[in-house]
Symmetry: C2
Subunit: 349 residues, 2 copies
Amino acid sequence: MWERSHSRKGSAPLDNPTIKEIALRAGVSKSTVSRIISGKGYSSPEARDKVLALIEELQYKPNAVARAMVSQRTHNIGVLLYRRDHPIASHPFYGKIVDAILLAAASLNYSVFVTTDHDMSYRSADFMMEKRVDGLILISRLQQNVIDHITKFGVPYVMVNGSTDVDGVIHIVNQDEEGGRLVAEHLTRTGHDRIFVIAGPQTHRSHHLRFKGFMTCMALSGIEVPEAAVRYAETSTFAEGYDIMSRQWGPFRAGRYSAIFATNDMLALGAMKFLLEQSVRIPEQISVVGFDDIDFAAMFAPSLTTVKVDAGEMGRQSIKLLDQLIRQEPNVAHPSQLQPKLIVRQSTK
Amino acid sequence: MWERSHSRKGSAPLDNPTIKEIALRAGVSKSTVSRIISGKGYSSPEARDKVLALIEELQYKPNAVARAMVSQRTHNIGVLLYRRDHPIASHPFYGKIVDAILLAAASLNYSVFVTTDHDMSYRSADFMMEKRVDGLILISRLQQNVIDHITKFGVPYVMVNGSTDVDGVIHIVNQDEEGGRLVAEHLTRTGHDRIFVIAGPQTHRSHHLRFKGFMTCMALSGIEVPEAAVRYAETSTFAEGYDIMSRQWGPFRAGRYSAIFATNDMLALGAMKFLLEQSVRIPEQISVVGFDDIDFAAMFAPSLTTVKVDAGEMGRQSIKLLDQLIRQEPNVAHPSQLQPKLIVRQSTK
DNA sequence: CTGAAAGCGCTTACAG
DNA sequence: CTGAAAGCGCTTACAG
């Protein structure tokens, strides 16, 4: 006891009491205290009253580290977000997924480590392994080497909107091909037949499928989308959308196209910004459609017609599934792909 | 050994090797292995070679939980974001701070728990205490009861952009009053004298000071801002900015004002959106200024003139300071307030 | 109903 | 240079 109080200077707050201190003061053994706290095993009402009162009085908080040590379960999970240069926790789309994960994780009593890492590095993954997380959620563009690494370590994980499917791994994704189809339908239904397409990185599953679904549906409608009407973006950023559009200004000014489809909102918004700066009227002269339904899509002026991807549901499912994996439930059902939904706003007519 | 392998079925990945297993195979004691890993204390080259080889071969990863147990340091920190209804990890401004925190924390070898909680609840805080985080970063609107709670527990923490200052607590903030002054200067310099103000929640330090700085400077310039030209927003959201402006449409249509200042970008953007929908030309007819410089400010059409708050620097400082607190460095200097910077864009002339 | 003992995976004096 | 021992704060059989 003396040593304890002396280890901190004078009036500093007391160290957190341990089960041992409670036991000492209550005049029972540590085992008894432990049983009372966990609620399993028998205990006499008297012992219970005394211990519970002490817990309240001393503001006892169980040490989760010690618990993890013996139970071999930390009740912590890790979320890995990959990035090229900057972290992307604040990314308008992935951020939403993270939000939903935080909420859902809390309701299942998990705490979550959020980490980001560069391409081709698995420092974060290694870190999470050392911390002995119960499971991992991998978001977006993850490198094969990282996946192999994690798999080798034997920690359960699920992927969310990953760039590629991996055999046997639970992968939560949107029905992106169907989403592309919805866009094509909407645009053709509203009379557009000269459509320009900004296709995001085709190495990423979602951009690829959105583009493919769109093209397939257009072909079926008998409307041609010539090669010249498609531009491939290297990144899926606002700046790139703006750039691509600025390089296409010639044909657009000449009235070659009546609509634009970009495989995500950021690209679409960038393109729109450029057009608005040229005093193009949207949707009167050009209609624009994006994909994702990030918050900004509704805020932009004009607001952006897009395909909503249910980021919240992705987050919730990922936690639910990961929890099942962690608890080793017998047969965890792979989730069905999420239904995309067309949201018509001011940018199309 | 047998028990070990049987505890997992058949071909499942092996359990993580422990220091004990390394010691056994290397024919040395656990102490020796520990010393070699930590690099402190002596060890013979032969022992070192053998142990290091084994670590490589078995892919040994130290168990951070066990380490935390003995060192009483988890190398984990918690970030608490408060919210009303929804989590705000994806918030355009606070998200940026979190991003910077993640990056800076990683470079100092901390892992970070990100949590959100409702107003008036300290469930998350309690959770972090149980997890025995080394320190805490509190962002934005935190309740006094939570602060008291944490203080009682004796864990070091810093506040970032909190709603109020707390004695003796390190608080990282922007020079908001100065920022308000910058806006007033810019607007008066460009000839505006009929300015409408949308003031965010005055219970929050930053909104209050931005407003105050602006008003003080206007008064000094001899330009009156009558009561009727100020509207107080209950939340600092896009929707509220939009709403407030829609209710002010009468005076605006009548040409009563030539400029708007909103105490954050979201409010400003909402207001702008409404005006653009009424075909008001910005900045020709109305100039608009926000505050924060969230990413979307530059993307909007027209892009928004605003005052940049260095969210990245806030995140970095918070980690640096927290680390000093954790390591109990003698006298940690309270940080000076961050310099705001006026960013002139398309929305003002 | 209760307590003594062992153990989770490490680190850290302390002897040798 | 190395190993045995104790201990971090819990939980979990196992005796009583």
